[in-house]
């Protein structure tokens, strides 16, 4: 995925290594100070390299932003499948997926904020790439929803719309964390705000299924994974 950004240095291993220095530094600083107030030199310094080196691995300061946002999305995306490993029951899979998603967002609140704030500064092309990556990630959840519907556990709803509802609520925890943390906890937020959304759409049969799985140490497993 990072191939989208050209670097002067050819050796892919070195590119990967250097970028794995640069990108976290960039993420940290972009989160802290924003894209425009972060200097390329700042990033170089934080990555313990010279300013000139940056431009051997990235064409632009904008590319650095793209790599940063891309990295975040990519990383987040990997967490959910991990949490679903071995889970087969459709309702439990959905429950697990969305909970994992929410907890990943919580663990990377800075990154969520960054995404909402700085996407504007991307190239049109980069913006498109990022959007399609978002859609891909969403698919991890929407496919769980579809499975539930197909199995008759959930009413027939606009799947992507529901997905966005859940996704956006997870983001909201990060976006409004400055206030939400004073009025609730993550656990409550997830169960009250997020889970209830899809639980209300379960069929009677789905509710039954759901009730059974609640015995399992769901939450703990996901927490550990994150």
């Amino acid at each position: 995925m990072q191939i989208r950004v050209k670097s002067i240095v050819e050796d892919p291993e070195l590119v990967a290594r250097r970028r794995s220095q640069l990108v976290p530094a960039a993420i940290k600083l972009f989160c802290r100070r924003g894209f425009h107030r972060t200097t390329v030199k700042d990033i170089a310094r934080a990555a313990r390299v010279s300013a000139g080196l940056v431009y051997q691995y990235v064409h632009d300061k904008h590319d650095l932003l793209f790599l940063a946002l891309t990295h975040i999305v990519e990383t987040n995306k990997q967490e959910i499948p991990a949490s679903l490993k071995g889970v087969t029951d459709p309702v439990l899979r959905l429950s697990t997926a969305i909970e994992a998603y929410a907890r990943v967002m919580d663990a990377n609140r800075d990154a969520v904020l960054l995404t909402y704030r700085e996407s504007k500064s991307l190239t049109r092309d980069h913006k498109e790439v990022l959007k399609s990556m978002e859609l891909e990630t969403n698919k991890l959840i929407s496919s769980c929803i579809e499975d539930c519907i197909r199995a008759g556990y959930m009413k027939k709803v606009n799947v992507e719309l529901l997905t966005y509802h859940l996704v956006v609520l997870s983001h909201a925890w990060a976006l409004k964390h400055w206030r939400l943390r004073h009025i609730t906890t993550l656990d409550e937020y997830i169960s009250t705000n997020i889970h209830s959304v899809w639980e209300n759409l379960l069929t009677p049969k789905g509710r039954q299924r759901h009730a059974q799985s609640l015995g399992a140490p769901l939450r703990e497993r996901v927490k550990a994974a994150v």
Copy 2:
């Protein structure tokens, strides 16, 4: 509220007039190009004044951002009470308020995006002011919720949390409009995603109340107001 920003010029009327030139120009440009890529000169030009004049009515470029964001919130805030005028039934008031809110957000999608993107660039103090303004606006909705609960129409829930759920969904329509517009309409979004959230929390008595008011030309009234 705008008194928070000092200007060299004393005459409050003139200050108001000049700022009413500057702020809309600033909003337009900040929305289009973002805060950092918008030049003070750009704003001056758009407001048909000289660059120097800006600094007689504003201390800083940041102040301009503050005034812009402040203006947006203020404006939005005024819309909701208007829509509630004459509505007395608690359930209908809640329904009306949230619908008005959602439609205002839709009408000012740019502004919503701007708020999420550029708040970071504010002073610590200004950020606090803006947050408290957000809370005030939310109170317009949360007080409706409280009325419903008090009247026994709604279960006892974490009022502010529910408010945020509704508010954030309205924002999400703007934030994710690039995708949502392809998978639903505003009307469907409001009824399916937003209204259902609180409707699911109504007591049986509340549901009854709600069912009755559905006969009224609710949506139309709010639409007109916006």
Copy 3:
């Protein structure tokens, strides 16, 4: 002619004044150090203005070069007509024009060098403009030649080619001055190398005409004019 270069400042008088500070400074430095080794800051300093100011009167560093070269050509071009004022005899006019040209080139040897050296650094468009200005200047001489031919004083020759021969010899005095000054004087150079070229092309009638005018204090007059 300077209208070709856009400036942010509108007032044409101010533009003219500032540019008349900047351009000579640029010429001096470009001549001394070359275009690339001259810093915009150097020019600003030499012109006693701030670095930022330069960009209010010029879009580019390249524009500065264009204005510099343009200014040189323009200035040179004005000298020749002045020297011809009142001279009517075709042969004498030609003689006077070419001598004036040569002396102007001598007086601006640096500028001639600059033109040959740095034209390459111009935009394609600017290069074209400069070329056409060169052709215009040449026309001052070629029209004198044409008059001589028309009057039967000179053989029918390729007028522009002869013009270039004369022009290039004048430039050569500047281009090879490092050596020529050791082996001749400007006066000898002009009479031996330059004048002889067209004198050899005179018709008998032309030679007669020419011989008569040699009584006149030609050289002195042109010298004074330059």
Copy 4:
């Protein structure tokens, strides 16, 4: 001659081989883009070597320019003696030499331009070397002139001055080629502008001599040599 530029590598053969890779690459690029806009990396790439290697055979980027200009002059200088081989008549030798010179300049118009444009970027020392090389080359022509004078074929003139006149006209063909090619051909240029200069200085005896040699297929021979 290239010994003037020190290299880290000792083996002179290797130095020669590497430089014969580097210098043509440098010439090509310097001609095309100019000295300053050509990157050392560009040259290395064009010469199919690494950037670092350049600095083992050259101290400086400036050295590369020196070697390039030096190479050009050296190469050109070798052409003239070749064309004179077997020609003994003084007038014909002069005629042949200058024609050869002009045609070499035509064949290397880029190089001529380069020399005029970028000599400025050389070290003081390098500039001197180049100048003395130019004088050496000129001597190839001036000695022909001297022979003609000594033989009574040509008037007693300032030999070096005449040489420069001829040389500069040959350069002018390259320098003003953008225009001259529209108004004449190389052949006409040589005969009309260049040859006529010295032909006009022949003594009657010289003219006779010259007329005789005109039967010979002069031009063709020189053309072939170039």
